[in-house]
Symmetry: C2
Subunit: 530 residues, 2 copies
């Protein structure tokens, strides 16, 4: 099934806003709910594809048939940009300036190589397309014309080694499909980001994704043991051992490269047995600071839960920690900050960890709220993007951004980003609600995930841009990373360049120049144009 | 204190071979013990340094004084090559073909930059020198003339953040000194490779070192949160968060780069509280295969000990798992394979892990040998290189090599390397003892560490070379990595190039060309000359 072209996910799952949210929007943010009346897909005016017959033929040859080269308007609109709020606002406004000339669907690694060769010959740029869930402008290259290389036909489980506990997956596999294939053998990947239902294995690798159960299963880049990369100059295969001292770890040159060096055509990952038990519970802390200390204690001294998240006071009050219960009396009961703490594994292991972690959480001031908030979180864990659609539908603005740093810098980073967002949007006449949670923890630091809701303003994209830039500036100034798990794309690129530094960017540019000498792949994404 | 110039470590710790070993050498390997009568340092004939006065002056200016530019024969001999067995055999034979023209001792990052600039101006190559413990030819560049850049004066603790549990260390710090500085604050790094007593922080990072307690503390590259690199083109600073999705993880471009891109001038590492408890015990398994399954179970399903090692039948029989007890009745008691299992941490955590791990080990066929073998191992854990010196002294040959792969390939890799070494040396008339242990475990695989002992043959370096090459071929053919923790240097380079592949090498070459455009740094080390 295709994702909703101008919003998130499965259109059948769209839900109207709860009355309580409408009340918050009206009373707190001055949003006057109204339908924004976006156009239908067939009403969007898409320019003819700039594709000579010879080029179309070359692409069709590369993928063994014209059926796998789509130039119809619907296919092209469906591959225009990703799923950031600005992306949705633009497509809802009928803006298709970033439309690909064609959508090409290779079935094999060799077909990917052939597409790259054909594009090199004809000067076409190439944008690899997995789930299309980028929220950082990762699908809007800065050079025209381009083809979207949709990897959906490469969706197989190539190999599974139960002794080594490894599996080799194709890049176009969506995460639920990958989990289903692994579950047939009793295994799980354990990677559950909010984009889980739609995102793909190749995308997780290219963007260094991190899932909601990262405390237990690790980040996606922790799971990757091997990779195959199709480049304009041939194939790069990486991964002969779990770890090595044979030169720099080349896996980490491909992970996070966001399609700028080549197209990931297979990923070998670590797999684990499907857990016998999954328990999620709610905890409450008097303050974000107190809760953060509790999370830090668990991250540093253990035992490590599988899921560990903490909402700040505002997010707890609004109840965004449980999107299904927003505005309900249940979500608002009590003050302070809510944490979700989850355990997955064997019966014995989870009960041991849960008991000892509970002692640490209590010692740190936590009050257990029992299983219900945990179950609610688990039930609604992938639904926040649907809520965003509903907010946009009634004329509100909603967007998220995220960062990470070392523990001692977390309070200052939290405060700096909140202030930047609040001040900028307030000055622009749309005072926002800024909510935050700690979404991923490490021994040495944590990530902060911010959600902003406000009135839209006249031109919503132009209205948001200064706030987003102010948040990026605040992140860099406070010593944070410009992205903990969304990636760089085009939206973060100018700040990423400052984070990586002149020589960091030059090193990556050197790699790109060598592997993609014609600059075909994702021009302007991750790295600036020359 | 300086390390022994023609052997390992502290000359005061040298010990004669136990009689039992002499017996093994004579009866099993046909070694006729005799003193090899190596020359004294002052008898070695060292050519005059090829250093014009202007060049000497430029170097002295870079490090603020002539005293920090050493051109005397002793300093230069002490910086000639590393500590592989061929390195020791060559220097004992008075071979100083790889001698540096000078030893330069910078005190700061800026002085390192200045030295690189001076060397670029005068066409001198530069070889960064930490502990000088390379066993892969990592200090013998393939371009003359060069200076050894000895980092011993950069040996400070620059910063310690007890909240984030991070410390920033200078590269010339030897590991015991780093541990002492951290212990003043109640912390440990937890990195204890066999080279521990002499190796440095910068070397650990440059070569992707792995310590004996890696099951608990992780590898050195797991510990690194940030790095500063001095290059010919300026400074690269990396590390704003424990983890990030902002592009490829540049830390992993520097880790393992073996000085080919730049000089590491600071390393920010994860630190942990000094453990309350350290317990090491011995276990015995009927076979290497049975023991490996037990280790795999602990690595995959936990609980994870801090130290986890398993000797094969031969190594167990000889008793190399406990170098202090070699040949003793104690070391030989019982058949099968000995494992060392250690726990470090809090009282509660270690006792819980120990109890549950013991159950797994027993279920897997293990028999607990109690604390004594563990204590013996801990006592002798850094002494194997002294034993090698004693073997070389009496005319025997001893060398080690190591690799890693995924669990399902471990048996074939083990067998292939053993066969390659045994066959080659037997054909050459010196049938060897080949011993092996699993030294590091991961969820998805393990490393194999081989020790070879034989008679020396006429020209011992020439005698060993075909066996080493055969082992390298076997590693690559069996799907292993050419090095799990020793690195590439010059000895593994030609096989590393095959492991990394054409595009992998080209990507790294592109980085080198950009950061070190004159090719000054470690020419021919890691990457082949152009």
């Amino acid at each position: 099934m295709d994702m909703l072209w101008n919003g998130w996910g499965d259109p059948a799952k769209a839900a109207p806003l709860p009355d309580a949210v409408t009340g918050v929007l009206r009373d707190l943010l001055g949003v006057k709910p109204h339908s924004t009346g976006a156009p239908a897909l067939e009403d969007i005016s898409v320019p003819e594809p700039a594709l000579e017959p010879a080029v179309f033929g070359a692409l069709a040859d590369a993928v063994a048939g014209e059926a796998q080269v789509r130039t119809d308007a619907e296919s092209r609109v469906r591959h225009t940009r990703g799923k950031s709020t600005p992306d949705l606002l633009l497509i809802r406004a009928g803006d298709v300036t970033d439309v690909p000339e064609a959508v090409v669907l290779p079935a094999t690694h060799d077909e990917v190589l052939a597409v790259l060769r054909a594009c090199a010959r004809h000067g076409l740029a190439v944008v690899p397309f997995g789930g299309g869930t980028s929220v950082v402008g990762g699908l809007a290259p800065q050079r025209r014309a381009f083809v979207a290389l949709d990897l959906r036909r490469m969706d197989g489980l190539l190999d599974l080694d139960p002794v080594s506990r490894t599996a080799t997956l194709q890049p176009g596999l969506r995460a639920p499909h990958a989990e289903a294939l692994l579950a047939e053998h009793g295994f799980t990947l354990g990677h559950f980001p909010q984009s889980y239902e739609w995102a793909t294995i190749g995308g997780f690798a290219a963007a260094r994704s991190s899932g909601q159960a990262s405390a237990g299963y690790g980040r996606f880049d922790d799971m990757v043991l091997g990779l195959t990369l199709a480049t304009s100059r041939g194939t790069l295969e990486i991964g002969r051992a779990p770890r090595s001292a044979a030169g720099p770890d080349l896996r980490h040159l491909v992970l996070g490269s966001e399609g700028a060096f080549g197209v990931i055509t297979s990923v070998t990952v670590r797999i684990r047995p499907v857990p016998q038990v999954r328990v999620y519970e709610g905890w409450r802390f008097a303050s974000f600071e107190e809760g953060a200390v509790a999370l830090r204690r668990l991250a540093q001294d253990g035992p490590r839960p599988t899921v560990l998240r903490l909402s700040d006071e505002t997010e707890t009050l609004i109840g965004l920690a449980q999107p299904d219960a927003i505005g309900s009396a249940d979500a608002r009961q009590g003050a302070g900050c809510q944490a979700i703490v989850g355990y997955e594994g064997t019966e014995e292991d989870t009960s041991h960890r849960r008991e000892r972690a509970a002692a640490v959480l209590r010692e740190s001031g936590g009050v257990c709220l029992g299983a219900e908030p945990g179950e609610r979180w688990a039930h609604g864990r992938y639904s926040a993007p649907y809520l965003r659609d509903a907010l946009l539908d009634v004329g509100a603005f909603a967007e998220t951004l995220e960062t990470a740093t070392f523990w001692s810098r977390v309070p200052a980073l939290y405060s700096a980003v909140r202030t930047a967002l609040t001040d900028t949007l307030t000055r622009a006449g749309t005072p926002p609600l800024v909510m935050c949670h700690i979404s991923h923890v490490y021994e040495n630091g944590a990530s902060l995930y911010f959600t902003v809701v406000s009135a839209q303003g006249e031109d919503p994209v132009a209205h948001w841009t200064p706030a987003k830039h102010a948040a990026n500036e605040a992140v860099i100034a406070a010593g944070g990373t410009i992205s903990h798990h969304h990636g760089v794309g085009t939206d973060h690129r100018d700040w990423y360049v400052r984070e990586a530094g002149v020589l960091g960017v030059e090193a990556l540019r050197a790699v790109k120049d060598r592997l993609d000498p014609d600059g075909l792949l994702n021009p302007g994404i991750l790295l600036p144009l020359d």
